[in-house]
């Protein structure tokens, strides 16, 4: 889907709309619609926003259904970031039939600061979606966009609208178009070459909200440790298709597969992590007889060893500038998190003193590392602030909770939890609120959230 134009000559479209409808109030005078303004709420409170159902300009069943979907998904997308106080949708219904007859008085009664009005119209080539954000007090359009594309995935219109609204109104990088990748045994296929009853694990991707779950590997073996490349076009992961764990990169939009640790006869290779610029990966390997951290170019060349310690070193993650790598080592007994320079020089510094695994460095502006910590019989997700070294806990003993991964804006985490029975993928806000379960079929592990 491609955005054709930033707003906005709506007059023509609105004229044709009105032609099909009962007599309308006179058109509003032309407004300076290129100028975007920001909707504000009461001092100290987020703006109160209403997102009524979009107006289906074409009245066929599909258009009506698409209008319903887009407005509901947009509501959910906006709600996810909690930048707006969304007025619950059950207290209102669509009262407008077009952009020109919005009953602002009634929206003021609901104390709405902003009102999103959208229209959906089928066209010869697909779909046209128009959107306006009105300032309810001034009755001015604060923001407008027009989108056109196919009817295949209406949710994507909502995701793009949400991301652009957040950017325009709140200066926030939304994550509505990001995706998760994780491993799952949901298809129930059996692993070959063994008499044991073992289910294969394949990689699946999903929208950030858990919709559109799709399988991306078909190698009928153990495929784990997926990691999105920073450009979101490739997934590095560990596959056991050669017997032991080896690192592969699947370029999912080109149907190409690279085997990065090809020809490594000795040892296994796990847990690839992309450098922030996408040119290199650090990973864990036992090629030299012990589990150590290595770095290589994205084509598998130029492998260099970063750690040298007889303990287990595993689970590397890059700092946002790519200058440091945090990893897990049991050189002090239990596995703890250490930080070293990205070239392996100097001696690593100890970060956590409890059983900890799978550190994942937050994106800027936060400077935190999320990890899975042993808290009892199971593990919980914790976050350590690197400046203050203060630790906060996000989950509290509901099942075991592992493998956290940050959203690109650092405001959310996805993780695996067994709180609902089998292991499933959940998301949670960085303050521990807003827990959502994204997967329900089979068991699902080791999520990774795209940039």
């Amino acid at each position: 889907m491609k955005r054709i134009s930033l707003i906005v000559v709506l007059a023509a479209a609105m004229a044709s709309t009105r032609a099909q409808q009962p007599p309308q109030p006179p058109a509003q005078p032309p407004q300076p619609q290129e100028i975007e303004t920001t909707i504000t709420g009461e001092p100290g409170s987020p703006p109160r926003l209403a997102v009524p159902e979009f107006i289906a300009v074409s009245k066929d069943t599909e258009s009506v259904a698409i209008a319903k979907t887009i407005s509901q998904v947009l509501f959910d997308d906006l709600n996810f970031e909690r930048e707006f106080a969304l007025i619950p949708r059950d207290v209102y219904s669509t009262a407008a039939t077009s952009f020109s007859d919005v009953p602002f008085d009634r929206w003021r009664e609901l104390n709405a600061d902003g009102l999103v009005v959208g229209t959906v119209q089928k066209t010869a080539t697909g779909l046209k979606v128009e959107l306006r954000l009105f300032n309810v007090r001034t009755r001015q359009s604060a923001y407008g966009r027009e989108y056109s594309g196919s009817t295949a995935n209406p949710r994507l219109y909502a995701h793009q609208i949400s991301d652009e609204l957040h950017q325009s109104q709140r200066g926030l990088k939304g994550v509505a178009r990001t995706k998760l990748v994780f491993d799952s045994d949901r298809d129930g296929e059996r692993m070959g070459g063994t008499i044991e009853n073992r289910g294969v694990k394949e990689l699946y991707i999903a929208d950030y909200d858990g919709e559109n779950q799709r399988r991306v590997t078909v190698s009928k073996t153990l495929n784990i440790n997926p990691a999105w490349s920073p450009d979101g076009r490739s997934i590095a992961y560990t596959s056991y298709r050669r017997g032991g764990g080896q690192i592969f990169v699947s370029h999912i939009f080109q149907a190409l597969l690279d085997e990065l640790t090809k020809g490594e006869k000795v040892g296994e290779n796990w847990l690839p992590a992309w450098s922030p610029d996408g040119t290199r990966l650090c990973f864990t390997s036992t090629r030299d007889g012990n589990s150590e951290i290595y770095v290589m170019n994205r084509d598998g060349s130029n492998v260099r060893r970063l750690t040298r310690h007889p303990g287990i070193d595993i689970s590397p993650t890059w700092s946002p500038p790519g200058t440091q790598i945090a990893f897990v080592s049991d050189r002090g007994g239990d596995p703890h998190i250490y930080i070293m320079d990205a070239d392996g020089s100097g001696s690593p510094t100890l970060l956590t003193r409890e059983y900890s695994d799978r550190p994942t460095w937050s994106p800027a502006p936060y400077n935190e590392i999320a990890y899975s910590a042993r808290t009892g019989p199971g593990n919980d997700i914790k976050v350590i602030d690197l400046a203050s070294r203060q630790v906060r806990q996000l989950t509290f003993g509901e099942g075991t909770n592992e493998s956290p991964t940050w959203s690109a804006n650092g405001r959310h985490l996805a993780f695996m939890s067994t709180r609902a029975g089998k292991s499933q993928i959940f998301t949670i806000a960085r303050d521990g609120k807003n827990v959502r379960q994204l997967t329900r079929t089979g068991s699902n592990q080791q999520p990774n959230w795209s940039k």
């Binding site: 153990l222 032991g244 764990g245 296994e268 036992t286 589990s291 595993i314 689970s315 695994d357 695996m416």
Partner: protein, 191 residues
């Protein structure tokens, strides 16, 4: 074929080490077919025996009649494996006396069937995290392999793989299940 060829190579190596001067009857042969109760000692060939014969006679192995293990298919073998799993303590790859006893028996069996290739899988219980358990499972499989090698099993006959906690043998969530899942599991991959 692999075995015969291996023998040939060994003979040639022995020749080159010991020199070709002495004229003695060839004594090295392909391995005798194993049978129950036999104590096969493939590694106890006299190392200094010279071997002047350029083309040793290739004797195909005799069909084995009495050995159910040797005649079973790989899948059947692994289903009732003569190789015993080795169990570990929590978060440990140390070999307990029990583990060493099991490995002693496994080593004897592997020696008895010199054509076998074996993979040792390292497994963990679910309490450790998935990522760390990959390395812990590797530790366990490597510990078991190192012990076998110390007993004279050729290193190239034993591969290792770590499955972390991906494939528990007992899906339960109690200590009884965990105990079964902290193991080095033996798989015969060629015979």
């Amino acid at each position: 074929m692999t075995r015969v060829w291996g023998t040939t190579v060994l003979l040639l190596m022995v020749m080159s080490v010991a020199g070709c001067g002495k004229k003695q009857a060839p004594i090295a042969r392909p391995m005798p077919p194993p049978f129950p109760g036999a104590i096969s000692t493939p590694s106890s060939r006299p190392p200094a025996t010279p071997e002047p014969v350029a083309e040793p006679t290739i004797v195909p192995p005799e069909p084995v009649r009495d050995d159910a293990i040797a005649s079973a298919s790989l899948d059947d073998l692994n289903r009732n494996s003569p190789l015993k799993p080795v169990f570990f303590d929590y978060n440990s790859s140390d070999l307990s006396p029990d583990a060493q006893r099991a490995l002693d028996e496994n080593a004897a069996t592997i020696k008895k069937y010199p054509s076998w290739a074996v993979t040792i899988e390292g497994h963990c219980d679910e309490r450790g995290t998935a990522e760390y358990n990959l390395a812990l499972g590797e530790r366990r499989s490597v510990a078991a392999r190192a012990y076998l090698v110390s007993l004279g099993i050729p290193a190239d006959r034993v591969r290792t793989v770590s499955y972390g906690k991906e494939f528990p043998f007992d899906p339960g969530h109690d200590e009884a299940a965990f105990r079964k899942n902290r193991r080095a599991h033996f798989v015969i991959t060629a015979k």
